[in-house]
Symmetry: D2
């Protein structure tokens, strides 16, 4: 009974179907008919012009976005616990050619205008200190917290006031939108680029890098090839992305994962370290309690010495979820 | 009737089957059971210890290999028409952090020990000139020419004599081995790393980067993550690679593509600019002749002003091939 | 009356003399007779084999050292307030091709084995997190604190235990050695490379990058050229460095600066934020007090809202020092 | 009797004087009064607004210029024998983060609009090939050839037509202007940046990087610090540059070097491989002849198997020059 992560979950049947259907003669790279539909489909979804590039991983999506926004001598402000800082193996340094990640604080791994201001106030405006050109936020955050539309708007305004481009890491964007019950744009408003995650949400090997600023997309297109991410059979990535968006599959899947998380949250109650707003739970569990759960057949990661991280997925087994909820409640 | 390239050909049914079979619960990245089999399967294939990393593209495979061999201040000797020089959008410069591609000559886009010696003789051994640490050859070459085992052995010896690591770009390695009718190792002997192509040969989105030097693999593993190429559902890439090797599918597919090329070569006769040893043909055809072929329904790329490039694939339609052969013969 | 910094102080007459004497016909770059003496002179100074490269700035010295120790996908542990982190305009990211500065804590901007252990304990040993290969300490630290020989030995042992190369940023190494009254090696023992500062200590445009590991020096020599730091009239840089070492000028100058700092420290008393062990003072002074001192003709930098940084130099005017001491005491 | 190079020649007395005069209290980096004069002095010299940065080497000047013009995924067109391609130890790859040097042809190591067109015609406009953003020419060229004002204007027009920024490597710009007897601007017209050489022409350790495009200068200023080239006692570099320009010293020195070269050229006559237009001569001399000259006390570099390179300097000894001229004539 697996609650380790959503990142290796099964591929949704409709994604499989779309991939099979894509195996017809098509021109290579992103010149196929499916890849050519992406801009329009996302423009429709976000209610504004988009330029969309598929890439194989969230790390590539995030770092191509940042590399299009920030020169090598520049910097990106992000949360101290952002994925780009802690879990991408130095990929931002690679893609941006050594630009600096400038770390800011914020509850629940969310930035605020105040935390942004604070970090910028500490930077002298001279050539001896790295000057930021972008800010990256994660929707939902590394602690599964969602920026409300008003919060996102405030972040966008703060970024703009400082002349920073806004990047949204949306590895679990679907979970955030499902939770917020807002329009997709409201959940990332003001972004110049959004890493729209699919892999954790029923996809196989495609994320959508959505640019709301076409000039950045033009740079990213060159950088994608330069990074070896321009697959010749790109139609199979486009097919995955289109299948996720079509008929709202992305939201359906996210809602399923969120619902499972809520069921667990109800059982965890006071043990929760963070409010549960997506599909991740951080639960205070001591070593003996974690051992007991594992003996009962549940797998998950420790989170420090006194807690566990539980992640649900689009296809979390309802029986497993119920069992885990009961087991936690019974501790 | 498509002879543009093999790079967007259909995915082989056995690859599809393997991918579907891989959609069971598995740990992420390359910790799944399929990824864990790669080293052994390739060790068997090559008759020596291997460390194998899947990646999504040939560009990524080539450049991760080179980045593991060459420091940023170093250089890679390759043919003036090598894919890494002409068609990877500067990816070698990105992955190696600006190491230099040092260009050598050679008939049919093949290097020789003499051409290697010549380029090295022109490099002063001082800090003002970039010193090479690796040489990259393409098997089969950009003109579809295969290095015979003895030629490859001679290149390896020359590389070793100059203290250079040997990389083999095997985007069409299968076609070369099928043509040479030798063991896989004979076709790349002496290599420290081989980009073992699958995508052009019936795969979807996975190439095998095969290291015969484990230390290089250790570096490449870190760099793969840093380049955003460590997919979380890596089992689907491993499945593709395993399917290609299993039962010799890779050679069967290559033989089919090569046979189609030979059929066309027979028709092209004196028009051939290069002997046909793989699945690419470079055929002298003037503008009017190319127009005629296109009007007859054949698609292909111009190759300069007076020739065309024709590429066959594992699934080239026998009827299309026969029709093109007839059409060329009739010109 | 200038206490802003030592970094623009006058050039010592003996440095001038040595430069003038160097203006005779000599071969270029570092093949001149003076550059060729550096290894031996520093071997003598440190009591062990050295390979010494001159460079124009401390930033270049630090970053060439780090780039020789750390691959692009690697990391360097340093103090949160280290110069390489806060004041080199992102140069470490440039020279190392995006390696990560991993920040550690420590009183007085000094690392300890415990702070090193703490930061390493937080790094998972997998490809998703950047793995460190080096640690950089500053002697004297950014707060003018000196590592005692035993402390340096302990840091070296801790670095070795973790498999990390040790770099010592010695922009004010002379001040530290003068304060510690130990041998030069005792003050940097265990280092693989030392940035031996001259510019702040009476030089003009030359620092000595001292390698105690010859293989690193071989890399740095190539990187120096690649960074545009191999001056063709290198004899003038070598002359500066040799003049600093000859007859112990480096220590004489440092002692003068330290003595001036001690005179001010005596006056500052309880106001000192850090013990004064080199030529920098951090003095609690409110805004009104700073204004008063400035009106009296003293120039210096604010240090946050409630303090000032005062820096003495080898040629600080004794009258100015005495005047400032009196002024502070009188506040 | 030294004709190896001008790159290690003596420092002119007026440069020494200016440096000594600069050793008064001044703020650091480029905030001193001398550095602050550079823009105006060069604006006067070139008859248009300039932004001028001092740097220590020609390699740094060239590469900072290119890095300000070209993104990492871009390219720079230059001659196959340009110094940036052959003798800067890969520095362009370092500074530009792996942008490609795209090599063009041209007699005397000079590009022409036709050679520029030819190389651009060979580049497909897609993401698979590196797209150029700049072109770099050398005035005087690596064979000591000067672009006439009309030639430079034609190059500038061609660059503009292709949307390329123009960089002029002027390591021996003074020699070119002295030969052409034109205004400085005529000799580099259309350039966005000029590396204005001083070191080979009587300076010690300062080149002027002159931007005619202020936005590029703003980038280069950040990159200079990031490259460790922002010296804290920058006043000594500014002093050198100002001394070179003041009273036309740069042209006087260049004329002296050129006159010495012409004296040798007269003696070499038919042996010259290239017309002599600056201070470098390439002279057909077989091995025995070179031996004879060396036995007679002349030092110089071989240039391939059948020639020698002779370089004169601002302070070439008239007696040595006359002796060499006689010796060559007598062969």
């Amino acid at each position: 009974m697996q609650f380790l992560s959503d990142n290796a979950a099964a591929v949704h049947p409709r994604v499989w179907d779309a991939m099979r259907a894509a195996d017809a003669p098509q021109p290579p790279y992103d010149t196929d008919a499916l890849s050519q539909q992406l801009d329009a489909v996302f423009a429709d979804l976000f209610g504004r012009p988009c330029t969309v590039l598929w890439v194989a991983t969230g790390t590539a999506a995030n770092c191509l976005a940042l590399a299009s926004m920030v020169p090598p001598h520049g910097g990106v402000i992000c949360h101290r616990e952002a994925h780009i800082e802690t879990d991408e193996g130095g990929a931002p340094g690679f893609y941006t050619h050594g630009a600096k990640l400038i770390l800011a604080e914020g509850e629940g791994a969310k930035l605020t205008p105040a935390s942004l201001d604070a970090v910028i106030a500490g930077i002298r405006k001279d050539v001896h200190q790295v000057q930021p050109q972008a800010v990256s936020v994660t929707q939902a955050s590394e602690y599964g917290r969602a920026y409300r539309p008003a919060e996102m708007a405030a972040m966008a305004a703060a970024a703009q006031a400082h002349g920073l481009a806004l990047h949204v890491d949306g590895a679990r964007f679907a979970n955030a939108v499902a939770y917020l019950n807002c329009s997709p744009w409201e959940a990332c408003q003001g972004a110049a680029a959004l890493s729209f995650g699919c892999v954790k949400n029923g996809g196989m090997s495609a994320e959508a890098l959505v640019f709301f600023d076409e000039e950045l997309a033009d740079v990213a297109r060159l950088r994608r090839k330069r990074a070896g991410h321009l697959q010749s059979k790109g139609r199979f990535l486009a097919a995955q992305v289109l299948a996720m968006v079509e008929g709202g599959l992305w939201l359906d899947n996210a809602r399923a994962a969120n619902a499972a998380a809520q069921e667990l949250a109800g059982a965890a109650g006071e043990r929760l370290l963070h409010p549960v707003e997506a599909n991740e739970l951080f639960v205070r569990l001591n070593s003996a309690e974690r051992d007991a759960l594992r003996r009962a057949g549940f797998s998950f990661y420790d989170w420090g010495a006194d807690a566990a991280r539980l992640v649900t997925a689009w296809n979390s087994d309802p029986g497993h979820v119920a069992a885990l909820a009961r087991a936690i409640a019974a501790l």
